[in-house]
């Protein structure tokens, strides 16, 4: 294990993970709080191709800058997230990948987030063989994360997802093309999602047997269209000319749904390896695991976040300004946060709590209240053995409250 070795401070060491943020979507979903701009039908409007091209150039330029600025080694993981990366289309995605290909380890995990409406046969074929470079021998495709949200159109509609493509068909096409690792992205706790409807989504997932499942509870962020709609629903208890919007689910209904899907997926052989993530053996998302293990990573693209050592920075979210800066040879604007040792240790703990990763006690002892630790261990929320702390599955259900409890009181901080 880590016997005798000094634990490496969180986010320290050479960079081996890169996240690329693709900040474009066809239309904004009602619940979306991501850095993303709506570009309509995708590729058809006159300045959109130029925007996309400028974006790809920008990523390449930013990568060169950042690679020079940090101790970057061969990448173990590369993640293209969004937004909607698939909106770029196979050609531009291929161009993007070309930028990184020389810097990947042979076993590197490359993930691309895809929306069902973009997962046509052409895309599927690219995804299945995208990593085939001339003379490289191994035929390894990318890992796909398919944005399903729900298999039921009415629940997608409740989220304001307007595209009509059938996620099941998209999944089948990807599988048929030979994509070796497919993950599904789902949401639970959607207004109107009764326990029966949730059971339907669970059954479909188990039926499809994806390699990976990310199943998030709906987070209604302030300022989103959904938040406004739910606020209205609270105000109008029936009546009115317009159909009354569907109200939010009660907390305990959502909590029960969560327990239910955790149980169902676990029983079906999925490893519940993070609060919202499940994987069949060998299919954990290594990129995200690296993040939860507090490894350093670079984020490229508008709105992307990087954390290296004691510094975390966030690119400004405006794609045009970001691209213009890079085209002019300047670094895009970013906001920077310095992380002191205690802050990093707290993050280490809060991330580890989410996925049950073992943490050497000495790495977090400065920020953990020993009494709270003992009490939590007594209650079976954490286990402490051989100088290692691990949050149990029971503790994972209350990981946030547990961290609050474990953190040393601010006043007593050194």
């Amino acid at each position: 294990m880590h016997g005798g070795e000094t634990p490496r401070p969180p986010f320290d060491g050479p960079v081996r993970h890169v996240y690329v943020h693709v900040p474009f979507c066809r239309a904004r979903c009602d619940y979306c709080a991501f850095a993303s701009v709506a570009v309509g039908g995708g590729g058809s409007a006159t300045d959109v191709p130029r925007l996309f091209d400028a974006y790809v150039e920008g990523v390449a330029a930013e990568w060169e800058r950042e690679r020079a600025a940090h101790d970057v080694r061969r990448l173990r993981t590369l993640y293209l997230g969004g937004g909607t990366p698939s909106l770029l289309g196979p050609d531009r995605l291929e161009r993007l990948l070309t930028v990184f290909r020389p810097h990947l380890t042979p076993q590197a995990e490359v993930t691309v987030e895809v929306n069902p409406e973009d997962a046509g046969t052409e895309f599927a074929a690219w995804a299945a063989g995208a990593r085939r470079s001339p003379g490289s021998g191994a035929l390894r495709g990318v890992r796909i994360s398919l944005g399903v949200q729900s298999f039921l159109p009415e629940l997608r509609a409740a989220l304001g997802r307007t595209a009509q493509a059938d996620p099941r068909a998209a999944f089948d096409r990807l599988r048929a093309a030979g994509v070796a690792s497919i993950g599904l992205d789902l949401i639970h706790g959607i207004p109107g999602q009764t326990p029966e409807l949730l059971a339907g989504d669970i059954a479909t997932v188990l039926d499809l047997r994806p390699d990976h499942v990310s199943w998030y509870e709906l987070d209604v962020s302030e300022g989103t269209a959904l938040a406004r709609r739910l606020a209205r629903a609270e105000g109008t208890a029936g009546g009115g000319r317009r159909a009354a919007p569907v109200a939010a689910l009660a907390d305990d209904v959502r909590a029960a749904g969560y327990r239910r899907l955790v149980r169902a997926l676990s029983r079906a052989g999925y490893d519940w390896y993070e609060v919202s993530n499940f994987a069949r053996p060998g299919h954990k998302a290594r990129h995200n695991l690296a993040c939860w293990r507090a490894r350093p990573y670079l984020g490229l693209g508008p709105g992307a976040v990087s954390t290296v050592g004691a510094r975390r920075w966030t690119n400004s979210a405006d794609p045009r300004a970001w691209a213009a800066a890079l085209a002019a040879g300047r670094r895009p604007t970013r906001s920077v946060e310095e992380l002191d040792d205690a802050t990093r240790a707290r993050e280490r703990l809060l991330l580890a709590a989410r996925c049950g990763e073992p943490v050497p006690l000495e790495a977090v002892s400065a920020v953990v209240d020993p009494d709270a630790l003992a009490a939590s261990a007594g209650a079976g929320l954490v286990s402490v053995r051989g100088g290692t702390l691990r949050v149990t599955r029971k503790g994972r259900h209350v990981a946030d409250g547990l961290c609050v409890r474990l953190f040393r009181a601010p006043r007593l901080r050194g």
Binding site: V275, V305, E347, G380, V398, D400, L402, V404, R405, P410
Partner: protein, 608 residues
């Protein structure tokens, strides 16, 4: 200044009254009409010095003032008006103040009639051989019923119609007659100017620059500046640095003569050395005997005071130290509680005294406090012999080592309109009270006597009395010693761990009901925890009530990638910050509000 008032031109008197019957207002009128205070210096209720007193309309400390009064007989008299505290908690102080007088104006609100403290004070005055001048006040009010109130006063004091004055302290009507009556009816002081000097301390006050100021009545001989004196109860010696009278401010003089009221400042810094009731005498020519009636008062009601913020302990200690300078009866000793941290177990003369101290700590010292349920001092007689004095329920010895527990009893006198007699009997029945006797003051008003545990009064007897009689009943009580009772210690357990601050000593028969109320309230006020928490009330090992705080089912946000991490961490840090006011009890986090709610459930813990 050097003019000596002959003894027969001195009158020392006080005004005694039930609260709100107009004592302070009458004092103000007197000061005004005698020109003691220029009208422009006249503040409402001048004698009530502390803000708190003025606000609450009660007198906490006695005050005194010297008045020059030109009487109708053409002579000018020196009147010394001694104000007395108006509450049962301070009965001893009242009795000492009265001991410094020869006469007392017994003031009764004609709209209310005689009340419990009127009676108690009248008896105190009689005990001190004072001439009582009965006065009916507030006759300007249409609601006043002079004939009825007169009958009650007659019943109480034996005074005839002609002897009872009727006034309005508000308009001033009849106030001159009060002054005349003081001069004509109050006997002059009787001391011996040539005997070894003796002065009665009827109050003392601490001044941060000058030390203790003793309020005195010179009984025999005289005192001079620079005189060497002795405090007779302790033998403590001192030199008089300054003395004088109150005009109303302190007015220095060279000498205090026989019969005069004034102040004496020595270098003594500790009020406990200059106790109310003690006698000052000359060191070289000491009196053979101290003045009668000296006793050290003991606190009767105890409570734990804890700062809501743990790091305010030192501040609390400093504040208590300062209050103690001026309050010899206040007792405090450090106490630590698992539940509430570091604080003090404090002893008070009664609930009002407690409220006053707490309020001053909060107001004058800016401290936020948690007060545990007040309790009395129990005497646990042990099977192996010996006795444990229990001022904090958590200190009660193990049940099997106790032979019997005794608690303090009081004799309560309750005055009510006669239609409430049944109500009172009913209330007293539920309060472990023994009926003593009952007497009609008039066909409409009854004085009832009961003997009951002080603990019942500390709990909520007074509030209940007021509620059930729509405010018409009044209460006064006197301590009457210790008696054995069937008492048990009720503990509250959270996740199996006793919460020391919530332990109670209560009669066995009410254990179940009180236990149930406590755990129910706690369960409601403790938020869901990360795991299930049983809340129990128990006597020893026997659980008498139980509830469960449910576990949180889910407390984790769904997503945490990249930029979410900072947001998430800050949120958790903020939540931690927000938990500063949570108390950690073993594995359970209890918000302070939960303690407050439970403590409030105990009605005696609230001020009145």
């Amino acid at each position: 200044m050097a003019v000596v008032t002959p003894l027969d031109h001195i009158r020392n008197f006080s005004i005694i009254a039930h609260i709100d019957h107009g004592k302070s207002t009458l004092a103000d009128r007197i000061l005004e009409r005698t020109g003691t205070v220029a009208p422009r210096d006249m503040k409402e209720q001048l004698l009530d010095k502390m803000d708190l007193e003025r606000e609450r309309g009660i007198t906490i400390k006695s005050q005194a003032v010297r008045i020059a009064y030109a009487a109708r007989d053409g002579q000018t008299y020196q009147l010394n008006l001694i104000d007395t505290p108006g509450h049962v908690d301070f009965t001893y102080e009242v009795s000492r103040s009265l001991a410094a007088c020869e006469g007392a104006v017994l003031l009764v609100d004609a709209t209310q009639g005689v009340e419990a403290q009127t009676v108690a004070n009248a008896y105190l005055a009689v005990d001190n051989d004072l001439e009582i001048i009965p006065v009916l006040n507030k006759i300007d009010l249409p609601a006043s019923d002079v004939p009825e109130a007169e009958m009650e006063l007659h019943e109480l004091t034996g005074a005839t119609h002609d002897e009872i004055l009727t006034i309005s302290a508000k308009t001033g009507e009849g106030v001159d007659e009060v002054l005349e009556a003081v001069v004509q009816r109050t006997p002059p002081p009787e001391g011996d100017p040539t005997a070894p000097p003796r002065a009665l301390i009827f109050d003392s006050e601490y001044d941060q620059y000058r030390g203790v100021i003793a309020y005195v009545r010179v009984v025999d001989g005289h005192f001079d500046r620079r005189q060497l004196v002795t405090l007779m109860s302790t033998g403590q010696g001192a030199e008089i640095e300054e003395l004088g009278s109150f005009g109303p401010g302190m007015t220095p003089a060279e000498r205090l003569e026989t019969g005069e009221v004034g102040y004496i400042i020595t270098g003594v810094k500790d009020v406990a050395q200059v106790r109310v009731g003690d006698t000052i005498t000359d060191r070289r020519r000491p009196a053979g005997e101290a003045l009668p009636g000296y006793k050290v008062v003991h606190p009767m009601v105890f409570t734990g005071l804890f700062p809501t913020e743990g790091d305010k302990f030192e501040e609390l200690r400093d504040a208590l130290e300062k209050l103690k300078l001026n309050d010899a009866a206040l007792l405090y000793e450090p106490e630590s509680s698992v539940a509430l941290g570091f604080g003090f177990r404090c002893g008070f003369l009664g609930l009002l005294h407690m409220d006053i101290v707490r309020e001053r700590l909060e107001r004058e010292y800016g401290l936020e406090l948690i007060t545990t349920m007040p309790n009395v001092e129990y005497h646990a007689h042990l099977t192996g012999g010996g006795m444990a004095v229990v001022r904090n329920p958590a200190q009660m010895p193990e049940a099997n080592s106790i032979e019997r527990v005794e608690e303090p009893y009081v004799t309560a006198s309750i005055l009510v309109p006669s239609q409430f007699v049944g109500t009172i009997m009913e209330l007293c029945q539920g309060r472990r009270a023994d009926f003593v006797d009952m007497k009609y003051l008039s066909p409409e008003r009854v004085e009832m006597h009961y003997r009951l545990p002080l603990a019942e009064i500390v709990l909520d007897f007074f509030d209940q009395l007021k509620t059930r009689t729509r405010g018409y009943a009044s209460l006064d009580y006197d301590y009457s010693g210790y008696r054995a009772s069937d008492l048990v210690k009720l503990d509250v357990l959270l996740a199996g761990e006793p919460v020391d601050a919530l332990s109670l000593i209560i009669p066995r028969e009410s254990a179940h009901q009180r236990g149930k109320a406590l755990v129910t309230k706690l369960r409601q006020k403790i938020p869901r925890q990360l795991f299930e928490v049983p809340v129990q009330a128990a006597i020893g090992n026997k659980v008498v009530a139980r509830e469960t705080v449910k576990a949180v089912r889910k407390d984790v946000t769904a997503k945490c990638y990249g930029g979410d991490i900072s947001r998430k961490r800050k949120l958790l840090e903020k939540q931690k910050e927000g938990k500063k006011r949570m108390k950690q009890l073993g594995v359970v986090e209890v918000p302070q509000e939960a303690f407050l709610a439970v403590l409030e459930l105990e009605p005696g813990a609230k001020g009145r």
